[in-house]
Every structure is written in C-alpha cells, then in structure tokens.
C-alpha cells in the first residue's frame, strides 16, 4: 500500500510539471555559411566558411542567455587541405513565449552575420568582391528545421 501511494504521488508530480502556466516555444535552427573555398595553400588568404561559423558560435554564446540554446552541431569543410567553403551550426532554442523566441532567432541571425563579417574583415574582403569569378565573402543563412 505504501508503494502504491508513492507511485501515485510521483504520477501527480509529473502531471503538474507538464501543465505550465505559460507555453514555452522551442525549435531548431540551421545556420549555414558559404564561402569561395579553395586549396589551403594555393588559395591561402581566402575566407573560410568554417572559421566564420566558429566565430559565430562564440558570438552566440555571448549573446544568448544560458539555457536558452543548445548547440547540437558544428561542422564544415570537405578535406584537411581545403579552405572550407561550407560551415554549419545547428542549434535548439527554447524561450518562455513566442515573442522571446523571435528575439532569440534575431540574436542568432545577428551573431551569424557578425561572425561572417569578422571573417571577411580579417581577410580584407567586402561584399561584391570576387575571387576566380565566385563571391569572395562568407555569407550566412539562418533557417528553421
């Protein structure tokens, strides 16, 4: 009988925890970076989409409140001797409501753009510049998934 009561209390506790006063909003974002790529040495001096992604991660960590996000992936590049032409951050956002969630998405978008801008500035390229006919800059794109 004692065991039964304990079990009931546990179930009630779970039920109470599952009925919050305010509905949280959570979702996943994919932040993509694209750059010109090239051989690590032959094309040295070009921007790296992976370097830009890492810079953006640091900015995301500074801009977003702890526990509001979880970075689940950071990846990019196709070989060790290539300047990465692609970079990807995947993260999960959690906010107390829809308005706060929108603010988190805006903060991630800003951090991604600033990460790309920092990489472009480090290598001295600006929007409109071309390298071998391709855009010379790193660009960022934020998409839900």
């Amino acid at each position: 009988m004692k065991h039964l009561i304990s079990s009931l209390v546990f179930v009630i506790g779970v039920a109470a925890a599952g009925t919050p006063a305010f509905a949280q909003q959570s979702g996943n974002l994919r932040v993509e970076f694209q750059g010109p790529g090239g051989h690590s040495s032959g094309a040295y001096g070009r921007v790296s989409a992976l370097h830009a992604a890492a810079r953006a991660v640091i900015l995301i960590q500074k801009a977003l409140p702890a526990r509001s996000y979880q970075i689940t992936n950071l990846t990019g590049g196709n070989s060790v001797n290539s300047i990465a032409s692609d970079g990807l951050i995947e993260l999960r956002l959690t906010a107390p409501n829809a308005a706060a969630y929108k603010e988190l998405v805006a903060a991630v978008t800003k951090a991604a753009a600033e990460g790309a801008a920092a990489e472009n500035a480090f290598r001295g390229v600006k929007p409109g510049d071309l390298t071998s006919g391709a855009p010379a800059t790193v660009r960022s794109f934020v998409k839900p998934f």
Binding site: S40, S41, A54, I58, N73
Partner: protein, 222 residues
C-alpha cells in the same frame, strides 16, 4: 571546438607578419561533431583537422607552435564556461594526432637524375623549350623521399583543360584537348622510363639512369 577554431582563425602566419619570410599557410580544413545521443544531451565529441604548410622547417615549426596550444586553450575555455576544471570529471579532454607530415626540403643542387629526366622528357615532347628549373615550392608526396636525400623533380602536367573552384564544392573542369592530354601523360612516362630504365620491344635493355640512392623511406623511419 568552436573556441579553438575561432582562436586559430585569427592567426597571422610568419609571411603575413614579416615581409620576406617563407610563405606559410594554414586552415582548419574540416570539422565535425558527434550527434547528441538524445534531446537535451550535450554533444559527446567533436574533431577538427588543421593543415599547415611552409617550405622551411623553421617557419612550419613557428606556425605549429602558435596553433598547437590553441587546441588546449579551446578546451580550457569551454570547460571554464561550464565551471569545470581541466582534467576533472565531466570536463572536456583533448586527443591530438599529428599525421600527413611532408617534411620541408630545399634542394641544394638541381644537377641530379630526376631533374635531368624531367627536363629531357619535356624537351623531347615539346612541352618545354629551355632547361629552366622553377624556384617555387610544392607539398606533394615526394617531399618524403626528397627529405631523405633522394632526388625528385616536380613539373606541371600543363593540361589544357579549363576549370575553376579547385578544392571547393563548386569545382568544375572540362575535358582537355585529347592530343595534349596524351602528350602530358607521354611526358610523365618518358621521364619515369629515363630514370628506371626499360626493356625495349626489340630486346634492347636500357639500364637505369642511376643506381640506388639513399635509404628507403621505411628504412629511415625505422
């Protein structure tokens, strides 16, 4: 890992810092992470690969000495963000593996069998008209025998194929002119046969242009 890459991304190489220093380059070429095993769980592991190049050992060591501590600095920064001390339970640890070493080498002389074969084959096939040896450098697998004292020679295959985007996801190329493509393969094989010697179809035996030189790479490693 992001902290380490972000630190490395700000590195200036010796040739960027000192005009006249040997051209030295690096990049974090590839990175990946193991997916979290379940929602709300942390990423268990990540890996990154860094490429560093220089024609001189001194400048390669210099860039390596700048970048290598940044791996641990990235680990320490991430541990600190979560209030963990390096080496403690649940702290991130680091495994470092060096691979693909192509040792730097500077040729003191170009008067050797490899250069002779490379130039002679080019002249024979009309690919070059003067016996000039370039002063540039490259990083290829022949760095290894070169470093052990075995003569090597790198020459361009000079394809007429058009292309762009090398080593990028948008890389493309066209067919080269078939006659040119055959000619450049002809040059490579001619150079190889000059050095190695061969048995001709008429029974003639052409001896190798040089006998054994230096130790085999595996002997050096041992």
């Amino acid at each position: 890992m992001a902290a380490a890459i972000a630190m490395i991304a700000d590195v200036k190489t010796p040739s960027e810092l000192r005009p006249g220093a040997p051209r030295t380059t690096y990049t974090v070429g590839r990175a990946s992470c193991e997916p979290p095993p379940a929602a709300n769980m942390a990423t268990p592991s990540c890996a990154l690969e860094v490429d560093m190049r220089s024609p001189r050992k001194e400048t390669l060591d210099e860039i390596r000495n700048v970048i290598e501590p940044m791996f641990q600095a990235g680990v320490t920064a991430e541990n600190a963000r979560h209030g963990r001390k390096d080496g403690s339970d649940e702290a991130i640890s680091l495994e470092l593996l060096w691979y693909g070493l192509r040792p730097a080498y500077v040729a003191e002389s170009v008067d050797n069998v490899a250069v002779h074969a490379g130039l002679q084959s080019g002249i024979q096939l009309g690919a070059i008209t003067s016996p000039m040896v370039g002063t540039g450098s490259g990083s290829l697998n022949d760095n290894v025998p070169a470093n052990t004292g075995v003569p090597t020679y790198q020459f361009t295959l000079a394809s007429s194929a058009a292309g762009a985007g090398g080593h990028a996801f948008w890389e493309w190329g066209t067919r080269g002119l078939p006659a040119n493509e055959v000619a450049r393969m002809h040059r490579v094989l001619t150079a190889a046969l000059i050095v190695s010697g061969f048995h001709a179809a008429d029974g003639t035996v052409v001896q190798p242009a040089a006998g054994p030189i230096g130790k085999r790479t595996r002997e050096v490693v041992r």
